[in-house]
């Protein structure tokens, strides 16, 4: 299919922006408050266009994030794929969710992402035992409605269907 509605670049640019935001240096005290941009933007596109953004996108994105963060190659790829899978199973229900339900769901998904990353890191190296790693999930969930509206606006503005 061809036409203005297949503006793939909008998706790619938003994902690239998420990658950049996740690599942005933050002051020491702010480190725990960084939202997980990449899972958030990925989740949005899966809810909006599950036929076009899916597991493959999640995996490639994960590899790029791994390289950018210098973590074990495949770590973020694994976590993002699993999260994308869960979202793909229930995206139709998520579209019907109220904001509160979306909050909780996004919190759970990002927490799952963090947990997988944490598990793998714990298995193949050392990480601290504190539960602080769940903090970004909370921040991400709080940010979700704003990001959802923003990306929906962008999607409709560029007529990406």
């Amino acid at each position: 299919m061809v036409g203005p509605s297949r503006a793939n670049w909008v998706i790619y640019v938003s994902l690239l922006a998420a990658l950049m935001l996740s690599a942005l240096p933050l002051p020491e005290a702010m480190q725990w408050w960084r939202p997980e941009w990449v899972p958030l933007v990925l989740l949005y596109w899966i809810v909006a266009l599950p036929t076009r953004v899916g597991l493959g996108t999640a995996w490639v994105l994960g590899i790029l994030l791994d390289v950018l963060e210098g973590s074990l190659l495949g770590l973020n790829a694994l976590a993002l794929t699993v999260v994308a899978y869960v979202m793909l199973l229930v995206y139709q229900r998520v579209r019907m969710f109220s904001w509160l339900q979306q909050w909780l769901f996004v919190f759970a998904l990002v927490a799952l992402y963090q947990l997988i990353v944490h598990w793998v890191k714990g298995t193949f190296g050392t990480t601290s035992l504190s539960l602080m790693f769940l903090m970004p999930a909370l921040v991400s969930a709080v940010l979700w409605p704003a990001l959802f509206m923003l990306l929906r606006g962008v999607r409709r503005g560029f007529n990406v269907l």
């Binding site: 990658l19 036929t51 493959g56 590899i63 190659l73 495949g74 050392t126 601290s128």
Partner: protein
Amino acid sequence: MTQPSLGITTIKPIFIKDSDVGLRMLVLAVISLLLIFTDYKFREMDVLRSGLTTLVSPIQYVVDVPPRMMEWLNRTTADYHVLLEENEELRGQSLVLQRKLQKMTALTAENIRLRELLNSVEKVDEVVTLAQVIGVDPDPFSHELVVNKGSNEGVRVGQPLLDASGVMGQVISNSRFSSRVLLLTDSRHAIPVQINRNGVRAIAVGTGLTGELQLLHLPDTADIVEGDLLISSGLGGRFPYGYPVATVGEVRHDPGQPFANVKVHPNAQLTRSRQVLLLTSREQPSVKQELNEVLEQAPSDSVNENSAEAL
């Protein structure tokens, strides 16, 4: 509507097949796990990683633009008097350093003469490359930096990184245009040190906390007090001898523990330095040659790898 009706249209799929998704998820997850395992176990993956890092290094450079803009803005809008003051201060500092340098020449000459008397190897001076920090690891659990010099400028894995006041860490991977540096405070890092005052040796390992290292296996009777300067001991061959590493902050003797509990603070400004130095040390020839001869006779070639990994 004016839209012409087409005879055959491909219907845009609205739903995706569930069984398909599950299988693909499984395949991708298995591939990821295999990748993680290979990356963890084998060094060959470094080539792939370095290639991919070169691919994403534009992102790192772009991300560094806002801080650099701020810096530029600060510089261009700085007050004339402030600049004048700073200039004066720097002049003073330079004078003090020059005075020290005058002494240094004499001391270096004396040092070489004494070494000759002792028949020991002559120290070779290290060469430094200036680099700039362009990125910080977003993960709070790992203490890593990205600097803007890569294999194109001759940066190698294992090279020490310094700032104006001490050792910062070492290069752990590089791409063409950037390198990743593991800081002293990362819990995966350890550096052999010695107390400048009396030469007692120890190993300073990172704790994962910013601004704190721990000395491992230091006996309770060791002569160490608060405020002692720790310098790199040069053992292990990765960090050259004599660079300041940390200052002793707290020494605790617990009768129930076999070793003293010593906390030290790194001298380098790990979270603030932007201008850093990459050190290229020319190895001391005789030791290296001896080692090479031994290695050539030994059947296995993994000795070098292991010693590098142990650090």
